[in-house]
């Protein structure tokens, strides 16, 4: 077995060397470079996304009663702001692996940070429909989860993504997918990840995240195509710190009071379905096209809540069920111009037992911890965008966010989103 392997390896090396010398020869003959589709000779394909916006909004903090927020969930800042500028590099590493890195350069609160969005390698030659991915990646669950924000059709993510995943479900680990050898597209995926990031939390093994998804899709005639997906995520954790605690205007407080809001021995599972339908006359989407998409997620989580504010504290057993959906339609009515509508809806149903009052009563606890439910938050958005080329887009969006506390926020966003460098991918 071992010698066979070595022989195989030697043959491969010899072949590779022969290939290399042939390449040198042929490049001498054909100076024009009769190459393959490649980004930029031997450098990785580099693309830079520039995103900037002006937002008119009269609130600074996203509050969704019944949902503990984490990750990147939040509202844009009022006035001018640089958005999600991204630097992406990718290339085939050799004939067996593909690699990519995606960094977001974000400026907020006077500081510039580089956030690692994705950094993974992927196999190219496992064959038989199998692909293995390793590193940090956007999970394959749902439809929008694995698509970066700049490729979304609205200026902000659907509310359900912020409420349930804190933006995107992104984690480090392994993903394997298998595409069935059928005419109807059928693909299965499984992920094993740290489970240490929101919506999960720190766990000793750093390996508690599990995700499964299945996608199917096809064409209807020449003008339409569709995709339907189902997803499941499950994790267990020791502790999750919440960032979504209620803030009552820092100015009133002379002294800073330390707030600790932790969920201990937590259990979480999320199920979802997603659907996308696209239409373009004769399948030619250049002049006009229409896209409809909808996703629904439901999250069950439980654990022991510990809420500490200064010297006072409260404890309770928690069993929560939170769900949300959005649906949107985007219509390109003439080349370069699109109009879109989106409706978001959330609903939380959280139960508590064995409440222990150590200076904080149940009402105060519910309000300040973020677990307390109120009305069902919802949001309505309309957008108009103009993309004169493959590489530039200007967008105007108006949203009305009802946060469930009888408060309605009107948000107007004017955004540019541009892509420089290598050609982006046209994901479905």
């Amino acid at each position: 077995m071992n010698t066979l392997f070595t022989q195989n390896k030697i043959t491969k090396v010899v072949l590779a060397m022969a290939g290399l010398s042939m390449m040198t020869l042929s490049s001498g003959v054909n100076a024009a470079g009769l190459g393959k589709i490649s980004g930029n000779e031997f450098n990785p394909a580099i693309s830079l996304i520039l995103d900037g916006r002006y937002t008119d909004i009269n609130s600074s903090e996203l509050e969704l009663p019944g949902f503990q927020l984490g990750g990147e969930a939040g509202l844009p800042s009022n006035g001018f702001a640089t958005g999600h500028n991204e630097l992406v590099m990718s290339a085939n590493i050799d004939d067996s692996y593909f690699g990519t890195i995606n960094m977001a350069i974000v400026h907020s609160d006077g500081e510039t940070e580089i956030e690692l969005e994705e950094a993974f390698i992927e196999t190219l030659k496992l064959g038989n429909g199998f692909t293995l991915k390793a590193g940090q990646f956007f999970s394959g669950i749902g439809y929008l989860n694995s698509i970066h924000d700049h490729a979304h059709d609205f200026a902000d993510r659907p509310l359900v993504y912020d409420a349930i995943f804190g933006g995107h479900l992104v984690d480090t680990g392994l993903q394997s997918t298998w595409v069935a050898p059928t005419d109807l597209y059928l693909s299965f995926g499984a992920e094993l990840t740290t489970g240490s990031k929101f919506p999960s939390g720190e766990n000793e093994g750093n390996n508690e995240g599990r995700a499964f998804f299945v996608k199917t899709g096809g064409d209807i005639g020449i003008s339409s195509s569709w995709q339907l997906g189902a997803s499941y995520y499950q994790s267990e954790f020791d502790v999750r710190e919440a960032s979504g605690a209620h803030d009552h205007g820092g100015d009133d407080h002379e002294e800073e009071v330390t707030i600790d809001n932790e969920l201990l021995n937590g259990d979480i599972d999320i199920s979802g379905i997603d659907f996308v339908y696209k239409w373009a006359p004769k399948g030619n989407n250049k002049q006009t096209n229409f896209k409809f998409q909808a996703e629904y997620f439901v999250k069950n989580e439980s654990g022991l809540v510990e809420f500490v504010e200064g010297d006072a504290s409260a404890e309770a057993l928690y069993d929560g069920k939170q769900q949300g959906y959005y649906m949107q339609g985007v219509y390109q009515f003439m080349p370069a111009w699109r109009i879109g509508l989106r409706y978001d809806h959330l609903k939380a149903d959280n139960k508590f037992s064995d409440f222990e009052d150590n200076g904080i009563d149940e009402e105060e606890f519910l309000e300040e911890s973020g677990y307390g439910t109120a009305d069902e938050p919802n949001k309505f958005s309309i957008m108009l965008d103009y993309a004169p080329s493959h590489f530039s887009r200007l967008r105007l969006q108006y949203s009305e966010l009802d946060n469930g506390h009888d408060e309605t926020n009107e948000i107007i966003t004017l955004q540019y989103s541009m892509s420089l460098g290598s050609h982006g991918a046209h994901t479905f």
Binding site: I222, S225, G283
Partner: protein, 299 residues
């Protein structure tokens, strides 16, 4: 979990293909037609796009991933024409045989020299292709070179039928050479004529015929015609009147018709590729129809 694995494995076994015909995934109908012509009954073909779609604007949709998954050979144009979706199909398909390093990956444009290779690469010049104009199927001589390379590739992938592929190629070459002679006689009067085109997808054809392109309806490659550019074209045609405006029948005809109304220059709507009209059922009939239409309208 165990049942899932067993189920998955048994599904795979059921579905593993008997290597009867070479399963060829082509990106555009012209390559599907060429593969059919030189592969005959030993190939099964599928085209990712139709003659009414712009191959630059396709998405890696589910049905295409499923088709790529099962392909033995992938035949595409290359020269970045499919750069938005082909790399994604390759990554998502999990098919080892058609990856860029393998025999099952064939890019037509990389077997011939391209024209209009940009000197400087800058996106202010529009959606330019660093490797030059990808629309190589419109030069009959380049097409012949590609047919030869494609036949060789089929012979390597399916050695059992090698002699058959050689015969088919020989047959195709004879018919194609005869057709070239006929077309060159037929279109002799086109040399020296002047046209406006929508996009640079006729460059090889017009170069072969000796027709001069005086302007493009697109202000820059890939950008839709603007009213400012159209009014500029109007003044161009006053000084240098073209014989026709050529557009492919999947392209928006508004700009062309506006210019035609103002100037009286005829608009010729052409099938760009096989399947683009009732007559264009293979490469021979496609060339025939396009040449006849241009000759008829510019007489």
């Amino acid at each position: 979990m165990k049942t899932v694995i067993t189920l998955t494995l048994s599904l795979m076994l059921i579905a593993s293909p008997a290597f009867a015909k070479v399963n060829v995934f082509t990106c555009e109908p012209e390559w599907q037609a060429l593969v059919q012509a030189i592969g005959g009954e030993h190939v099964k073909t599928y085209s990712a796009t139709t003659a009414y779609q712009d191959p630059h604007h396709i998405e890696a949709r589910p049905s295409l991933i499923a088709k790529t998954r099962r392909a033995d050979l992938l035949v595409c144009t290359g020269a970045e024409l499919e750069i938005g979706w082909l790399p994604l199909l390759l990554r998502k398909s999990g098919n080892a045989d058609v990856q860029a390093s393998e025999l099952g990956y064939f890019l037509a444009a990389s077997h011939v020299e391209r024209i209009e290779v940009p000197v400087a690469l800058d996106r202010s010049q529009g959606d330019v292709h660093a490797s030059g104009n990808p629309h190589v199927s419109w030069d009959p001589y380049r097409l012949q070179t590609i047919a030869k390379a494609l036949s060789k590739r089929l012979q390597e992938i399916d050695p059992n039928n090698a002699t058959n592929y050689q015969q088919k190629l020989k047959q195709f070459n004879q018919q194609w050479t005869t057709a070239i002679t006929r077309w060159e006689v037929m279109a002799a009067n086109l040399a020296g004529k002047k046209v406006i085109v929508y996009h640079k997808n006729w460059s090889y054809l017009l170069k072969w015929l000796g027709v001069e392109v005086i302007a493009d309806l697109e202000p820059k490659p890939g950008l839709p015609p603007t009213s400012k550019h159209l009014s500029h074209l109007l003044s161009v045609t006053r000084d240098n009147a073209p014989d026709a405006i050529l557009i492919a029948n999947y392209q928006d005809d508004k700009g062309a018709k506006w210019l035609s109304n103002k100037t009286g220059i005829p608009v010729i709507q052409l099938p760009y590729t096989v399947g683009g009209s009732d007559q264009a059922i293979d490469l021979f009939s496609l060339y025939n129809e396009v040449l006849s239409l241009i000759i008829k309208e510019t007489r």
